[in-house]
């Protein structure tokens, strides 16, 4: 659409950096990944960072977010801290987790594990060396269809990331958890790439937590590629909880085959500027996708949630529920699109966005969209922005519950609708706790974590 090459100071720095350091970047990964780096880089060079004129980034100034003097790590740097000492995930029953520090895997013994049942879980870079045939088959394959310059940028600089391979008929009940830690002494730009492959009839739960360990500002631009093959079932939970001076961009691409089911829940508790892009492709009949999100924005934070569901095949279902509580002078944005192809008859699609606006300085932007080319479909969307229900409030007050407490209860109820979609009980309880505390205005870091993340 735009033939002029896009230039912005943020982009120029990135291009220069890539050109100066590509040799070091290339050393990390095998050739097939490096080839993708090259094409992604070219794409990014052509499109540049999305500007505010870009319809999809109308409400979020990504160019400005990239203006910080961020440093990039092109290879694994020496760690000055012991991760296991400073960080402890306190969700009970979730103790076997993987830690990605600044976009790299450090723990040698956990680098890449092949389990008895054939499942492979661990570092992506390691997997691309040990099992190139698997990685090669899927790496970056879904991204090419979506022209998103931020994921192109990620693919050009892609560091390490989580790799999960579930072979045929394998069901893993224990959740696979990834902690994305940012521990930096200088301003960092971190760009991990994660790949999750579920083969036929397989099933797993994946939990991702984004944390920052010190108040240094950083930019996280991560990509998730999820492939759900026939009859597979995936639950993906993501919790974003970093400090206010961070920029977090996630690009999640979910590609679903016949009769697959993917349920994703995204909870944004804190994070400065957050932009979540979720792309879902329903490629074969009877695939079902459900995505939920909850964001609690306060202070000057800016949360932008974007979802794009593409129905390519008949008889698929998609469902989205996105809810936001927006306080102080923060901004909460929702933008969703359901795109139904001509051949995707008998599609069922529903999209809903609800926002609670608590102050006059806060802003809500909502853009639910339908683009439909098939006639035998049932598609609907709804968006509502308002405040707490007066009747419900009156009910509580008339029973002697204080105004503050009533507000608290009602907000908790508002959030519950999304939190309840987390099927992992310990995680659900933990998030419930965090949300409650967060709504009470208390510190929102995980309770047993001793780290000062500057909130």
């Amino acid at each position: 659409m735009n033939n002029e090459t896009n230039t912005s100071p943020g982009k120029n720095v990135l291009v220069e950096d890539y050109n100066n350091n590509y040799k070091e970047i290339f050393k990390q990964t095998p050739d097939f990944i490096n080839n993708i780096r090259q094409t992604s880089f070219k794409e990014f060079d052509l499109s540049g960072l999305p500007s505010k004129k870009d319809e999809n980034y109308k409400y979020t100034n990504i160019e400005a977010a990239f203006l910080g003097a961020y440093k990039r790590q092109f290879s694994k740097q020496k760690l000055t801290i012991d991760v296991n000492e400073v960080f402890k995930c306190d969700v009970p029953e979730l103790d076997n987790y993987l830690v990605l520090v600044n976009g790299w895997f450090y723990e040698k013994e956990k680098l890449l594990t092949k389990y008895n049942n054939g499942a492979i879980i661990g570092s992506l870079i390691e997997a691309s060396k040990q099992y190139p045939e698997i990685v090669k088959k899927y790496y970056g394959k879904n991204l090419t269809k979506q022209k998103n310059s931020l994921s192109s940028l990620n693919m050009a600089f892609a560091q390490d990331g989580l790799f999960v391979y579930l072979p045929k008929n394998i069901i893993i009940n224990e959740p696979i958890q990834l902690i994305n830690l940012i521990v930096a002494t200088e301003e960092l730009m971190v760009q991990p790439y994660n790949l999750i492959i579920a083969e036929e009839n397989s099933s797993a739960n994946i939990v991702i937590c984004d944390h920052s360990l010190n108040p240094q500002s950083f930019l996280l631009n991560s990509t998730f590629e999820v492939i759900a093959n026939k009859n597979s079932k995936l639950e993906i939970y993501r919790q974003q909880n970093a400090h206010d001076h961070s920029v977090q961009i996630t690009n999640t691409f979910i590609s679903q085959k016949e009769n697959s089911f993917v349920n994703s829940v995204n909870i944004t508790l804190n994070g400065g500027t957050v932009r979540n892009n979720l792309y879902v492709e329903l490629n074969e009949p009877h695939a079902i996708n459900k995505s939920y999100a909850l964001w609690l924005a306060d202070k000057n934070q800016h949360f932008d949630n974007n979802v794009h569901v593409h129905h390519l095949s008949p008889e698929c279902e998609s469902f989205q529920l996105y809810k936001g509580i927006v306080d102080n002078s923060s901004t909460g944005i929702f933008s969703g699109k359901i795109l139904v192809d001509k051949k995707a008859q008998k599609t069922l699609a529903f999209q809903s966005n609800k926002n609670l606006l608590l102050t006059n300085d806060a802003k809500v932007r909502s853009k639910p969209q339908l683009e439909i080319y098939a006639d035998d479909v049932k598609c609907s969307h709804g968006s509502a922005t308002g405040q707490l229900d007066e009747d419900a409030m009156f009910y509580l007050r008339s029973r002697g519950i204080s105004k503050k407490e009533s507000c608290q209860l009602l907000m908790q109820a508002f959030a519950d609708e999304v939190i309840n979609k987390i099927l992992l009980e310990p995680l659900r309880n933990e998030i419930n706790n965090l949300v409650e505390k967060r709504l009470r205005g208390e510190l929102s870091r995980c309770n047993r974590c001793k780290v000062n993340c500057g909130q």
Binding site: M1, E55, K342, Q345, N355, L357, L358, T359, N360, D361, A362, K363, V364, R365, S366, K367, P368, Q369, L370, E371, I372, Y373, A374, D375, D376, V377, K378, C379, S380, H381, G382, S383, A384, T385, G386, Q387
Partner: protein
């Protein structure tokens, strides 16, 4: 009367577009193309005062810097603005005093359109300001309206005779810098209607204009301005038809509504421009900027539109709710068939306190058409207690068409309640079965169901239009059901 009307509509909107006749009237056209001289010519032909010419030239200068908008969900062909004749007025010698003096052929045109001026005058009590290729031909009922102090005349007359009102209000809602098509309109607009309702007057009849694009290759650049002073009320009808031609014709109109304290304006449109033939050749490009402002407290603006024609429609009748306790409504039925494209919707800007807006949009797409709703609801920081409810439904007939919804919601005030809902589906087989079972043919059943579906909007139309619009709906979709 009604039977006659039915007959006309049938004739008109049957499978072939029956309004496709060309009136052989000597038209006073100027050379095609657009430059400063053309604007000066238009202005001088219309004996306009200097301030108008200056305004037109300013707009033209600004337009040169602008680009055609590409954001709509439309496939727009390149438009060569140098290939368009920007002014065409039927040649007439002197001013007319009675209907008899009107060129008989011109009169016959109107007769075929179903708006015989004299009959209409007697029977329906609708005052018609018929606009044929840019110059206002005859304004009926002028005298009786004048008794109440109502000014209802052509824009060019208003510019000559009421320059104060024009200076004050023209461009106050849609400034000359507004958008590509509106700016173009400011530079070259030919004529249009002007309505002023004085303080406390309730306009006793529905005011109405019929537009017709006639001469080949001329763009119709209408400019309408309606002002309702304190406590006034007016209901205004606009209807459009255009003769059939192979080349696309450009229609870039601007409508401005100003409602002062306690005033109410109701604006209804039935748009039935030539949609092009079955293969998508020809048809009108309808790029219209319509905007109203509830300028002072307690005022109300209501837009109702039934869009069945035009090859491409780009139209967003909007409201600025500036005064306190103001309210706005937008009711729309947009039907697209064959290769038509429509991107239409509204904008509601809540600025004052206790403002209310309501949007009801019903899209119906058939054939190979694309039908989009695009709307913005914006609540500003100080707009306390704002309330909006939007409902946008789409109906798909056939699997080659598309129905899209692009709503934008921007809320900056915590007391606001803004709701939006939309559904897209097709006519249920069970509904058709139910009708079939009772001896109603599938074609009729679909007409019935579509009418029921659009009823919420149709019932907002004034009586005269409602009947016509219902028929139009049914006929526009004829042949679209397989």
């Amino acid at each position: 009367m009604e039977n006659e009307q039915d007959k006309i509509i049938y004739e008109v909107t049957g499978n072939e577009y029956k309004y496709g006749f060309v009136t052989n009237i000597e038209a006073d056209t100027i050379k095609k193309g657009l430059n400063e001289d053309v604007i000066k010519t238009i202005s001088s032909r219309k004996n306009e005062p200097d301030f108008m010419l200056e305004w037109r030239l300013k707009a033209y200068e600004h337009w040169l810097k602008m680009k055609m908008p590409a954001w709509a969900h439309l496939t727009l062909p390149e438009i060569n603005y140098q290939e368009i004749i920007f002014y065409s007025a039927p040649k007439q010698s002197a001013k007319l005093n009675s209907l008899d003096e009107i060129d008989p052929e011109l009169k016959a045109t109107f007769d075929r359109l179903g708006i015989p001026l004299d009959e209409q005058k007697k029977l329906s009590g609708v005052a018609v300001d018929a606009v044929m290729d840019s110059a206002s031909i005859k304004t009926t009922f002028k005298e009786s309206l004048a008794d109440l102090g109502i000014i209802f005349c052509s824009m060019s007359e208003a510019i000559r005779e009421h320059p104060d009102l024009i200076k004050k209000y023209l461009g106050s809602v849609v400034p000359y810098t507004d958008n590509f098509f509106a700016t173009l309109n400011c530079a070259v607009f030919s004529d249009g209607s002007f309505v002023y309702i004085p303080k406390g007057v309730r306009c006793p009849m529905e005011l109405s204009t019929y537009f017709r694009i006639n001469a080949e290759n001329t763009g119709q650049f209408e400019r309408t301005l309606i002002i309702a002073d304190e406590g006034a009320y007016v209901s205004y009808l606009e209807g459009c038809t255009a003769p059939k031609r192979d080349q696309n014709q450009l229609h870039a109109a601007v409508v401005e509504l100003v409602a002062l304290k306690d005033a109410e304006i109701k604006y209804s449109t039935v748009q039935n421009w030539y949609p092009g033939d079955k293969n998508g050749n020809g048809g009108i490009f309808n790029f219209v900027t319509k905007r109203g402002i509830c300028k002072e407290d307690n005022s109300k603006i209501s837009w109702t539109q039934v869009e069945t024609g035009s090859a491409i429609t780009w139209k967003y009748p909007s409201c600025i709710l500036k005064g306190n306790n103001t309210s706005a409504e937008f009711y729309s039925v947009a039907v697209t068939n064959n290769h038509q494209q429509a991107d239409t919707g509204t904008k509601m800007m809540h600025i004052g306190k206790n403002t209310k807006s309501r949007i009801v949009s019903k899209g119906i797409s058939a054939g190979f058409s694309q039908n989009s709703y695009r709307g913005l609801v914006k609540v500003l920081k100080n707009a306390e207690n704002a309330r909006n409810h939007s409902q946008c439904d789409s109906l798909l007939l056939g699997n080659n068409c598309g129905a899209h919804t692009f709503p934008y919601i921007e809320v900056d005030n915590k007391e606001a309640i803004v709701e939006h809902e939309a559904t897209t589906s097709r006519i249920g087989e069970d509904q058709i079965f139910y009708c079939n079972q009772r001896g109603i043919s599938t074609e009729d059943a679909i007409g019935l169901i579509v009418n029921g579906y659009a009823r919420e909007v149709l019932k907002q139309l004034p009586m005269e239009f409602a009947v016509e619009a219902q028929k139009l709906l049914q006929i526009s979709l004829e042949g679209s059901v397989g």
